[in-house]
Structures are given as structure tokens and as C-alpha cells.
């Protein structure tokens, strides 16, 4: 666990870069985490995914899977891999201030 200065605030991150305290999340922090992951700037399409992830996680208590994101938004699987390269599930969750998706067992 480390504390880092993100968007002017001291934010605690776990070993894999996920927010320890979800309440600290702001859109500015999302921009900052995205930049550090090589995504800059966050476009409306990114925000479509991030907003859905936050809303769904609040409803379901766990971050959504890629399958769930593409089923419930107009973002296709192809596009989500372009928006959040390599591991979109993990990356979108991290930027959205959520926990690491548990889809991986």
C-alpha cells in the first residue's frame, strides 16, 4: 500500500494501483490514474464505460465484467479493448475507483 499525490490529494493505493478508500474517488483522480496507465485524455466513450462501472458496482456490490459492460452499454467488445487496452476489466475498474474485478478465480 502506498500513498500518492493524485490531483492534489493524498490518495492511498494498494499494490495493484486500486483505490483503498473508494470514497476518495473524483473524476479528476480518474483522469490522473488513466494518464498513469497511458490513457489520455478520457473521452466521452471512456466515461460511458466508467459511469456504467460505478453505477453497476453500486447496485451489485462488485465491479462488472466486460461481458456485462458490453451487454448494458452501446460500447462493443472491440471498442472497449481500444478504449482500455490489454485488460479493460481491470483498467476500467481501477480508473473508476473500484476494486479488482473478482471474475478471475
Amino acid at each position: 500500500m502506498t500513498t500518492e499525490l493524485l490531483a492534489g490529494l493524498n490518495i492511498e493505493l494498494d499494490a495493484e494501483g486500486f483505490l483503498v478508500n473508494a470514497d476518495q474517488w473524483t473524476p479528476e483522480i480518474a483522469e490522473e490514474i488513466a494518464r498513469r496507465s497511458g490513457i489520455e485524455p478520457l473521452t466521452d466513450r471512456h466515461w460511458t464505460v466508467i459511469d456504467f462501472c460505478r453505477k453497476d458496482a453500486a447496485d451489485q456490490g462488485t465491479p462488472p465484467t466486460i461481458r456485462r459492460i458490453t451487454k448494458n452499454t452501446d460500447v462493443s467488445t472491440k471498442e472497449i479493448y481500444q478504449l482500455f487496452p490489454k485488460g479493460p476489466g481491470i483498467l476500467a475498474s481501477r480508473i473508476a475507483g473500484l476494486t479488482k474485478p473478482k471474475g478471475c478465480i
Binding site: 479493448y81 490489454k86 485488460g87 481491470i90 478465480i105
Partner: protein, 410 residues
Amino acid sequence: MRNLVILGGGTAGTMMSAKMRRALDPKEWSITIVDQDNEHIYQPGLLFIPFGIYRAKDVVKPRSRYVPSGVDLVLSEIDVIDHEANEVRLADGSTLPYDFLVIATGSRIVPAEVEGLTGPGWHENIFDFYTLEGAQGLFRALERFEEGRLVLNVAEMPIKCPVAPLEFMFLADWYFHQKGVRDKVELVYATPLDGAFTKPRASSLLGGLLEKKGVKVETLFNVSSVDGEARTISSWDERVLSYDLLVTIPTHMGSEAVERSGLGDDLAFVPTNKHTLQADAAENIFVIGDATNLPSSKAGSVAHFQGEVLEKNLLRAIEGRELLPDFDGHANCFIESGFDKAVLIDFNYDTEPLPGRFPLPGVGPMSLLQESEANHWGKMAFRWIYWNQLLAGKELPLVDSKMSLLGKWS
């Protein structure tokens, strides 16, 4: 007379039927178990079929032989579960009313979820080994395979027995060595995970073993399509791997009946309380084994550990008492690593696999998180335990449903 209906006569369902028949008075409770066919497959054994170590007769037995007397076995497909009417409608037109329902319908592979996977080459030079016919086809394909590139791809998590694909690679390395062609065969492991396995500590050990055996690992490989004509497999981020033989672990989903009943999540797994095993949808429905959406491994050992909790909770629910939040995600997996050795891991929701001795703390004879021959013989002996102890719902000697930290170190 009250009715307990169990859907699915696999590991979890058969075991629960035996446990509940012993626990419930036959004068008050009838127990019915439903499955679509009478072939019980010892699924851990499928791994050994491609390498000629087991044959079909070693892994398939009639379900009816393992369903205890006093339990009605109904062979029919399930049409729909109506949880408001408390009844299950079967494809043969009959209806089974229930007071309590246990969903143990498992998971199945759905190869059609990956574009092109079931196109040209399917079951010619593309095989799964999660079905009997896939595993048998792969046996014949491996017999013919003298040189080239074998790619194993895990399509999507979760899968049954998350270590099985690794075991396949370890055994493939051994198999081609025995055949004297290992230097002409390239082995590639393409996984959507960021390492060999989901749990970091085991991942580094298993990743090290893959490396030692000369298996190339392609991580974060999320398959988008297979081109059977060109013999290539592509990822969503546009990496392309060519293959001569493709071994696929396709997308897994829960049962179609669960899906039809509106009781499943996006992959038709049933939303279930992770500690009590009660379905979110109804108080008189419980879920066990691969059919749940729990973040525990989809494996027989997990179903076994869940079984002990589920028996208690079913009895409590029947008596109107509070449920015990006792399931801790305990899993215990033998990982066959080739050349008559295996690794054993023991973990739960919160604790990573740790090194130690098992099942007797400090003594063993098996070793956790390291390769040993004793582990291998443990794995081979497990088939007998499965048919004779586990399906009968008996407790396994020295292994508790809750994970123990005794004899382990970090």
C-alpha cells in the same frame, strides 16, 4: 409428505442427495434428483484422457449407481424452475413441486461464444478436453502430432478447475518428451489472466514451472476470434498466434434451464450468498458447486466443502432457524505437473495458497505449494475417494470444510 428436489446429478447433487437422505426422515421427506442423462463423468479424469493415462471406462459410470436408495432419480431435461409457484417443470411435461430446491446444475462449455471456434477445424485440429468426446478426439490428435506448435487458449474466466489448463501443459511437456519429439514441439499458453494463475503466490510458482518446462506464456490474451482456415487465433488487442493444434478452454456458462428461468447472471450462474449458499432469488432455494456465481473455484473439492455447510443450512432452513455463514471459499487442488509429480494448493476467499504439510500439519505426507511425488499419488488415489467417499457424502479423513492454517507458513 414434503419434497426436496435436487437439480443435477453430478458431484454436488449426488453428494447432497446422499447427505440429505441420511439427515431427513423418509416418512416425512421425499427426495428427488433430476438429470438429463444417466452418465456420471468423473470430470478431474478428463485431463488424463488426451495422454492415454485414462480411458472412457475409467471416468464414466451410471449416475443411478451413485444415487442412494430412497432417492428418486428422474432422467429428463429441465424446462424451467418456477420459483414463485415452487415447482420445476420438466421437458417431458411433468411437474415437480418442491418445498426446498437445491440447484446443482453445474457449468458447461459454450464454444460458440468465440467467433470461428466451432468453424473449420473444430474437432479436427481444435479440441476441448472438458467433454468426453473432446478429450477422446484430442487423444487421437496427440497420437498423430509429431511436430509443430500447440497453442492452449483459455477463452474467458471463470472456468471449471482453473488449474486444469496448466496441468494440461505440464503433461503435454512430459508426453512429448516420452514420445521423443519434445524438441520439435512448441508449447504456447495463451491466457486472459496477467499470469499463470489467479492467486499471485501460486501464480509465480506455476509460472516458474511453465518457464522451466519451456512453455511460452502469452498473458492478457483475450481471444476475439479463431480462423480455422488460416490456423490462427486473434485477441481483441490484435495479437495473432498461429497454431498447428489448438486446445481451447471455451467460455463456461451455467445451465440453460437456469437461464430460461431468469435465475442466472450474464453467464447463467445463479447469484448466491457466498457464505450461506442460499440463492438471492428465494429463501427456499440453495445453490451448490459450479452452478453458483461465487468467487470460489469451480471444482469438486469446493463442492465437497460447500456440501458440509449446505447440509447444515438446509436443515436449519427447514426448521426455520438462522443460517450459518460458514462457507469460507475453501478449495484444495492437486496440480499434476508431469513426470509423476504434482503440486498441492489449499486456499479460501481470503487466504492465498501457502506452503506447508498436508493433511497432517507438520507431517504430511503431502506438501503444499511445491512439487512432490506424494502429491502425485494423492491425485491418482483421489479417483477412488471420489467414487467411494465423496459422492456418498462422507467426510474426507483429516480435511475440514473450513480451511486450516495449521502446519502452514507464510
